[in-house]
Symmetry: C2
Subunit: 150 residues, 2 copies
Amino acid sequence: MEDLSLSTLIWLRMVRFVQNSNQLSNDHLRQFGLTVAQFEALAHIRNFQPVTQTDLAKGLTVSGGGMSRMLARLEREGLITREQTWKTKHISLTEAGLALLERAFPSQLHQQSALFDDVLDEDEQRTLHALMKKLYDHSVAERATAEEDG
Amino acid sequence: MEDLSLSTLIWLRMVRFVQNSNQLSNDHLRQFGLTVAQFEALAHIRNFQPVTQTDLAKGLTVSGGGMSRMLARLEREGLITREQTWKTKHISLTEAGLALLERAFPSQLHQQSALFDDVLDEDEQRTLHALMKKLYDHSVAERATAEEDG
DNA sequence: ATTGATCATTTGCCCTGTCAACTGATGCGC
DNA sequence: GCGCATCAGTTGACAGGGCAAATGATCAAT
């Protein structure tokens, strides 16, 4: 192993942590027949419905193509509806989708939070939140720049 | 939008940041014909070769099945070799694989580090590193527990 | 009204990754 | 030596997700 920079070490830890955390969430959500991605999509739809696919894709940081496929699956399962008005499709939760989300939501948030609350006190969480905001905002700006140049 | 807990907000920022960062890395590595996953696999192989697939999968936090497929692709591209001794396959970089990694490595690490160095000073990075270590270690422990119970 | 430009969405092809079932090889107890 | 557990790896079915080319629908200018 060679000497990696501090930022690289942070990066590795963060990526692995996110992977582990996603895995744990997937294990947890399996009882509801959901994946993390589906859970997040349903939660986002609930907060913003009715919403277009494009806005949803932006909000979830995925491409339009990926969004299209995931929504097709959710629609097939009867959890959402896509109603076409004009050139846009507006997405909403169905009764079944809302019911499922409301069953899964509390325990999922709890299991998610526990990963932080178990090891970080409130001060540490505030510090981490501030640092992540800087990093996140910067990454958004970089992506926007890359897009302009591309 | 409802009121989400602090830990949930951190989680969202972190996931989105990692997504953006991966995307930027993929854009950057495209000039070398590599994906982030392949780059990380090659770097890991270089540091530990010769190494078994199982150890590699553990080191990269992916399943055995996923590892098998990725290595098949890397082998097809002529970047690695898999030599079977006894029941185990030992993986090493080929000349071509090493050459490619050495071309891609510096700029990739630089672009990766810049995401942190541009917005966090050294103190902040040390703080973040310590917080991530706590989170990462905890997530590893949770995964181990889940496996035992599973 | 017709032609284009434009925007939303879909779709083909690919890579990443999981899980579970399956193949092979090893090694152990009898 | 034979059968069996065990471990390494592979593979089929699938979800997630990216990119680029193709569709569809709207709107603007002629």
